[in-house]
Amino acid sequence: MKAPKTSPVKRNVIVSSLVIAAFVALVTAALTLGAKTANPSDRADAAATGTATGKLVRDDSHRLGAAGTGKVVLVEFLDFECEACRAAYPLVEEMRATYAGKVDFVVRYFPIDSHANAVNSAVAVEAAAQQGKFEEMYKRMYDTQATWGEQQESKAPVFRGFADELGLDMAAYDKAVADKATLERVERDRQDGLDLGVQGTPTFFLNGKKLEPTSTQDFRDKIDAALNG
């Protein structure tokens, strides 16, 4: 014990601090370097899709009306059998009129398990979408929700009736409804929603950020803020 040695505690503190400091320095360096090189392209990309993970808006995600400028994107995860979505529908319609051409309204399917016809209705809308009638079928679902919602038996025949009334090619519609790919398309939307932390419907994302409006006015204010920001 002649040579004065540093205590084990002190040595551990020194070694640990050095390791952590080196790690933090490395991460900071990587971040600043990455931010410099990746910014221009990444930013534009992130602005267009709202999130760099791309789960919020897929290339084949449906838009209500014409695409806006891409500056403000409102994504709604919805379930056609959900009453709260039905309740939000007039507001969304109103905002679509107010912000036409300024805001992108993107719709994602998020069928809730407890609704017996949530998947059926989403598949029907998706089948209609394949014939370019997404919006018509979307509206029809909400307009008629009271007549088919909250029931246990399959309402697929009812939805088929809607398709017929909309003048769809029924052979193609039936084929699309039966096609596993249509269901998978709906399920992928739902999975994206789950991954994004969607827990119920309707869930809105404004420019990639989950929106929790306290009132309809608050909803509009937040969109206005995004437009002016």
Binding site: M1, P8, R11, N12, V15, S16, V19, I20, F23, V27, L31, G34, A35, A38, D42, R43, A46, T51, A52, T53, K55, I112, D113, S114, L194, D195, L196, G197, Q199
Partner: protein, 208 residues
């Protein structure tokens, strides 16, 4: 020769008891924290089994998501939910830690048992880390708490066994005992590095 021996023995015993305290407290803390995490995971798992649409409290975003981790086959590696192992294992660890706090001297075979248990724990946890990062591609916060505690317990047990000469390693290796905390830090930093790299794109979006 005589001088070195004389000088050595008091230092040795001092270091020995210190390491013993450190080991005991490491086991106690790892045991409590690990038990809490495993217990929470088990409760969440049961809630998920009761209602498949249940969203666990730790599903925060696409990367930090217990739900997507807990629903995998890997979450039942031995045919039953992993947290059951955790609840039992960490309870054992906690008990051993508390026993060690009484300064009770445990027989050699008991220490071999601790070594076997913590080694199994650390190997299993690293398999889970690999699965989580590169197969499931999501992180579950409670599981990560278990990773930390399993690594801590393993390092504490191993360094204690090395320092006390139970593993029959050369004397030079025994110095490692006093660096146990640093070893844990280095280990955790390495894993943090892997996590950062694997989910880099995601972490970057959080900054924007």
């Amino acid at each position: 020769m005589a001088e070195t021996l004389q000088a050595r023995s008091p230092v040795q015993t001092e270091a020995g008891t210190q390491a013993g305290r450190g080991t005991a407290w490491s086991f106690v803390l790892a045991g409590i924290v690990g038990l809490a995490a495993a217990f929470t995971l088990l409760v969440e798992k049961i809630a998920l089994l009761k209602d498949s649409s249940y969203v666990p409290s730790c599903s925060i975003n696409p990367v930090l998501s217990c739900g997507s981790v807990m629903n995998t086959d890997q979450a039942e590696a031995f045919g039953f939910p992993n947290p059951i192992l955790g609840v039992a294992g960490f309870t054992g660890l906690l008990t051993i830690g508390v026993i060690l706090l009484t300064r009770l001297t445990l027989p050699r075979w008991f220490w071999w048992g601790i070594q076997a248990g913590t080694t199994f724990g650390v190997v299993f946890v690293h398999w889970l880390i690999f699965q989580s990062l590169y197969r499931i591609e999501a992180l579950c916060p409670y599981c990560m708490v278990v990773w930390v505690t399993a690594i801590t317990a393993f390092v504490a047990a191993t360094t204690q066994n090395v320092t006390s000469g139970r593993l029959g390693l050369p004397r030079r290796a025994e110095a490692i005992g006093s660096y146990a905390p640093s070893l844990v830090i280095v280990w955790l930093v390495l894993i943090a590095g892997l996590i950062l790299v694997q989910f880099w794109d995601y972490w970057v979006t959080l900054l924007k």
